[in-house]
Symmetry: D3
Subunit: 171 residues, 6 copies
């Protein structure tokens, strides 16, 4: 199975925020944004494993700045690390008021996808080899984020999460 590079999985999605995407204050609804982010991340995952995928989890997402009606939405997605049958994707989302020439970071997120065989069962995915320094950093952090997911999902005890524990105890 051939290894891949993060840039092989890179994907850009552009959307205009339309009336039905917004609440009564003219702000993009958080759930509509997550819908688009999920599609972008699914594409990045499929570019890595070349097979169908299913969303396994979404990490904590904070919505710092609301995105306005009529603004341009840009989502960038790229794999950070592949595990046995799962892949972690890092996403960044910008809003942009093209008339005012004002572009702003809206939020960042990590999503995890599982690769599926034709019967819908998890299947092995290729290894991802980080190239740049920032990709290496993302790659290293993926293990810590994975431990947090397992703890929050009740599948790991906090005291066994060595990588994550270091965050809380400065020894």
């Amino acid at each position: 199975m051939q290894t891949k590079l993060p840039q092989d999985t890179f994907i850009v999605m552009s959307e205009l925020v339309l009336p039905n995407d917004t609440n009564t204050l003219g702000n993009l609804m958080g759930g509509r944004l997550m819908h688009w982010m999920d599609i972008a991340a699914a594409i990045a995952s499929q570019k890595h494993c070349n097979c169908p995928v299913v969303t396994a989890s979404v990490d904590n997402v904070s919505f710092a700045q609301p995105i306005k009606l009529g603004n341009l939405l840009t989502i960038e997605a790229k794999l950070t690390r592949s595990f046995n049958t799962s892949m972690e994707v890092y996403l960044r989302v910008w809003g942009e008021d093209l008339s005012a020439q004002y572009k702003y970071l809206s939020n960042e997120a990590y999503m995890t996808f599982v690769a599926l065989d034709p019967h819908g069962r998890p299947r092995k995915v290729p290894e991802l080899i980080p190239e740049t320094e920032s990709e290496q950093k993302m790659y290293d952090g993926a293990l810590r984020r994975r431990q947090l997911r397992l703890i929050l999902g009740g599948k790991m005890k906090a005291e066994d999460a060595g990588e994550l524990r270091a965050l809380f105890i400065k020894e």
Copy 2:
């Protein structure tokens, strides 16, 4: 400002999973589900504060069981705790194959919303008073989840998160 009970904010949403909501394997796309969850949680928040709201954050969500095309989707949302200008909502999502009479828990999640005044600025929300034992437990856990959000959002240092720290250090 009048206090409220969790049950005042309780909301049930039912949807049928249609073709455009699913991927090529006939599973509900994770992002479409989060779109519905966001609307359900926004309604629960609006029932509490009686004003417009905006999604502030979504906590880690794991998708345990895929929901199938044609299945019934049920989302229940209820406030767990209100802070100064924000509200935490707890959601549970079920899928149900009505022909097979098989109902299954798909996932649980916590979302946080901020109440807005007519100028789009955060405004104070009523206090929430838990009634039942499980509501009290949710209420207590809200503080710990809030600390985790602040740490993950880079707004709090891990060593200052007293409540959360206890999870990692059995002293």
Copy 3:
């Protein structure tokens, strides 16, 4: 074949009225509302027969109060009576302005669904046993409404509709 209770078929649907659902005066379009009501009633029917269903008829519906953009829409649906292969569903629809804390009944309706076997042909459905007084009243009225449907559909002569005739002739 197991009998069922009306409450086994009870379903609540909640929706926010979005821009594309409304006309140029900001009122929910009647047809969009009937679309949602049809889905809610189909779910109630499927909970009763545990098989695919198809809309057979919609009784007279009056739209008393328009539902406004941004309002919460709540639809409740419950079976009133099952016939050989068909089921009558009673629906109530409310609008609610969550900021103004004003909830209003929009309309009521009866819809009839036919249960289908895997080849798309009508199939027998379980018996429905009313429990409460109001369920019994709904159950009794179902026969009269059925006669009216058959007359209006040209499948029964008015003079043969004994139950219905009593409405017009006080003997």
Copy 4:
């Protein structure tokens, strides 16, 4: 105020039945069809009164033949009679399998709309003058259907509905 002819209000709508419009058996959902019928009838009403309109009521509708995925849907709508501030519209709906060259009547319906002034209050509409024999027959029947609507809506007593009573009592 200028009188109008039924043909001035005539409208044809054509739609292809797409996947999201159908249930799991590939039949057009009844509610989706009523959504389209409502839009067609609203257009016919607006052609008559040249002002915004709102759906007031939908008469009993029976769905005789399911319309299939990929079929052509044709809706014809035309005013039958105008009252003081309301208009009755008659609709006919056909399905058509273009490959099999098979066209079938799906259903007929009557819908009533109210004309609105810019403040959203009912306003007077022009008189409708029937031309053909079938238009005259529709025009005459409109009074009887109106009485039925008022009785079913609880706004008229059955014994006062002279026109309608004749249906039930062959004197």
Copy 5:
């Protein structure tokens, strides 16, 4: 294979322009209009060949007058000529402000469709026989437009396009 007349393929589509169809100035987006035109033209083609079709090309389209939110959109489509396996459709689009009683031509277009057999390969279509003078003129022009398509698509040399050349050289 039976010949057909242009009027056998005639189709009218009516739509109301809703919020999500418009840009921030309240004008119907060009792409949304082309989406509807494509469906109308596909129906006209299917009425001719009675089989599935696929869009082969769209000729130059100019959008003369923007169509406004809330306006009625009317699309008329009719075949002009059939070739071996393809069909040319002529479309006219009107906008109409029903309150202001103002109807305006928005644009005209020619689209070409290819008929497909059940395996998705091109198949022969019936001959189209023009009846009226304007249909004959459309029929004659179809050859010239076809040459232009082939040149613009790089499949014909300009000097071989006899019919079209006459446009540029008044000899």
Copy 6:
């Protein structure tokens, strides 16, 4: 008014082809594709003029290869030349079967947009300066394509279109 480079206007859009976007053969409908292309081109235009825009025309488009359900759609758009108040955009569209690792060019197109002031009237746009050789070639061809648009729209006589005439007469 500041000049701009073609790369300042470059935009990538990625979409997954969902069931409702396809016809009964599972091919992306031509009109749905043009809808997405129009949005991509509108974004490229807005990046150039930083103001609202409206679609003025779409040049001949040929659909060479159908794009399949579940495939990834990629649209790239970039300005080729700006005129007084209008801008020409060049688009390329690819389909991609991510499982089969097969990417194919679907079609190319030119669209023209007009920049609008806040009153909806045409306004002057910045000059576009081509950088690369291929951008220069696109820039030069824009004049010839503009003449063809004017002739096809009936706003220029063929014999006055000097640039275009050369295509037909090898002198």
